[in-house]
Each structure stands twice: as C-alpha cells, then as structure tokens.
C-alpha cells in the first residue's frame, strides 16, 4: 500500500515538473506572429518629410518595415545604424526600408532621425493603426516583406548586420 502511494505521488508530480520545465524553457515575451507567411496588411502613411507612401505603391519590391520609437533605448539606438547601412547597401537592388515611429513625440522622433542620419523614409503612426494591424507588441520589431507582398520573417528586438543581411538576401 505504501509503495502504491509513493508511486502515485511520483506519477502525479512528473507532469507538473514537465509543465514547469517547458514553461521555463520558453520566452514569455516571444509570441509567434500569425502574420508570417501571409499577405502583409496594407498601409498608407504620411512620412515625416510630408510625402505619402503606401505598401500598394511598393508592390514588387522587397520591404523592410521597422517599428521603432525614440524612447526605446538601447535596442532602437543599437539597430538604427545597421538599418541605415542596409538601406545604403541594397537600395540600388530595389530594397525599400521604412521606419514606423510609434507612441512618440514628433520632435523626439525627428531628433532621433537626425542623430543617426537616417535617410530611409520614416513615418509616425499617431493612432497606432499600422502598429496594431501588424500585431506589434513592443519596439523594436521588424517585418521582412517579400516582393509578392507576403511576410517572410518577423524579428523581435534589435537587429544586427548579420540578421539583416541574411534576411534581405533571402528576399532579393
């Protein structure tokens, strides 16, 4: 009887331990996006320089859509130079880099653009519609959109040169 009791106690503990082990292994901040592999949600935006842009107008070109904010330190500050470098390196091959500034003040965002001498187009998302449409839950997040308009990859956190190059090469 005692052995049976011990065995049943052990058997009931095992599934709890397995569940805990699984929980500790996964990152609660990393939620897989249901958008990967699907058509990118369309957007139309007014850039900081006053020009207009839309995904529809960019159809046929690979797009790197980066969500950032001036208050997102240090991640957005770390990746900004790499994004500018990628834009400079690949723009002649048809790559488009677009920055979407979220939950920010215009003056702070413009100071950020000036600080990193970002020459690729950037736009604010004052109502957060593009942000929600892309299921963004933090900054920085970056979407790699293929020529056919499908989302190839979503990156959460600061980008580095290696990831940028690998993902852009896959799209070109």
């Amino acid at each position: 009887m005692a052995t049976w009791k011990k065995l049943s106690l052990l058997l009931s503990i095992i599934p709890i331990l397995l569940l805990l082990a699984y929980g500790f292994k996964t990152n609660p901040r990393e939620v897989p996006s249901p958008l990967v592999g699907r058509q990118a949600p369309p957007f139309a935006m007014t850039m900081f320089d006053g020009s207009s842009n839309s995904l529809e107008a960019l159809r046929g070109k690979p797009v790197v859509l980066n969500f950032w904010a001036s208050w997102c330190f240090p991640a957005c500050y770390e990746e900004a130079p790499y994004l500018e470098a990628a834009w400079q390196a690949y723009r002649d091959r048809g790559l488009i880099v677009i920055g979407v500034d979220i939950q920010d003040r215009d003056a702070d965002a413009k100071a950020f653009i000036e600080r990193f001498k970002l020459s690729f187009p950037n736009a604010p998302d004052p109502q957060g519609k593009i942000t929600i449409d892309y299921g963004v839950y933090g900054v920085p997040e970056t979407f790699f959109i293929k020529r056919d308009g499908t989302i190839h990859y979503k990156h959460v956190g600061a980008l580095d040169a290696k990831v940028l190059k690998a993902k852009i090469d896959e799209m070109l």
Binding site: S33, P34, I132, Y137
Partner: protein, 155 residues
C-alpha cells in the same frame, strides 16, 4: 397629491431603467466589454480595458471605431486574433486542446474534494474502531493487579 407623487416616482424609475439599458448597449459600454476580453500586448496580465498604456488606449480607440463602422464583436475579436494570435484573448476559445484549460480546474477541484472526503471517512472509521476497542472488558489479570495496587496505595 399622493397620486401625483406615485406617478412621478413610477416615471422616475422608468426613465432610470431606460437610461441604464441605453448605456448598457452604448458604443462605449460595448467597447469596454470587448476590450476586457483582450490582453494588453505591452502589459503584464492586464486587459486592454484596464491598462492605462498608450497601446491599450489606441486599441480601445480602434475597437470603438470598428463598432461604429458596424463591425460585430465577433468580427473585431477575429481581427485581433488574426493580428496577435489566440494569445491576445484573455480566455482561450472553447475548442480542441483549449478545453483542457477550461476543464482541468474543475477536475482538480473534484479530485481534491474526493481525496478530502475519503481521508475524513477513513479517519472517522479509525476513531470508531479505537473507541470500540476501549469498551471491551479488560484482561482479569490486569484488573486484579490494578485493584491490588490501588488498595496498597490507600493504606
């Protein structure tokens, strides 16, 4: 006089009931009800209705706008799930593997209750058995020895 007062009271109650019903179905109320079902993406376990964050405010604004444009609560829920995944729903949908999350607490409560009932019954039975043992006549050898010792003590 009394009749006028009664009529005014009834009218007042009716107006209050109508206003409450109108508010319950208002766009704001519907927005909050839907927002309460959604998880705020930038918070720790807070609903879109409860969170003061800018992201939650924008999400509430979008829900309000969609309701105003005639979208049903189900369509709006599906929209958020299509953007954020099922993770965005504070309560998992009642289908497939999700049933486990709904049923497991009840199974645990029933199982725990069963264990408690069995344990209590066993301990009661054990208590009754020991009481029954106590009421049995003592061994005559011990009785005579006890009597002898008590007499010795009295002397």
């Amino acid at each position: 006089m009394r009749k006028t007062f009664l009529a005014l009271l009834i009218a007042g109650v009716l107006v209050a009931a109508w206003a409450s019903a109108a508010l319950a179905g208002s766009l704001e109320e519907q927005t909050l009800r839907l927002a309460a079902e959604l998880r705020c993406p930038v918070c720790q376990n807070l609903s879109v209705a409860d969170s003061p964050s800018e992201m939650a405010t924008q999400m509430r604004g979008l829900i309000h706008e969609k309701l105003k444009n005639g979208e049903s609560p189900e369509q709006i829920r599906s929209y958020f799930v299509s953007r954020y995944g099922e993770w965005v729903l504070l309560a998992p949908t009642r289908q497939g593997f999700n049933w486990l999350a709904w049923l497991l607490p009840f199974v645990a409560i029933l199982g725990g209750g069963g264990i408690i009932v069995v344990t209590i019954r066993r301990s009661i039975r054990r208590g009754q058995k020991s009481n029954a043992d106590a009421s049995r006549p003592l061994d005559p050898r011990y009785t005579s020895r006890l009597d002898a010792e008590l007499k010795e003590e009295e002397r």
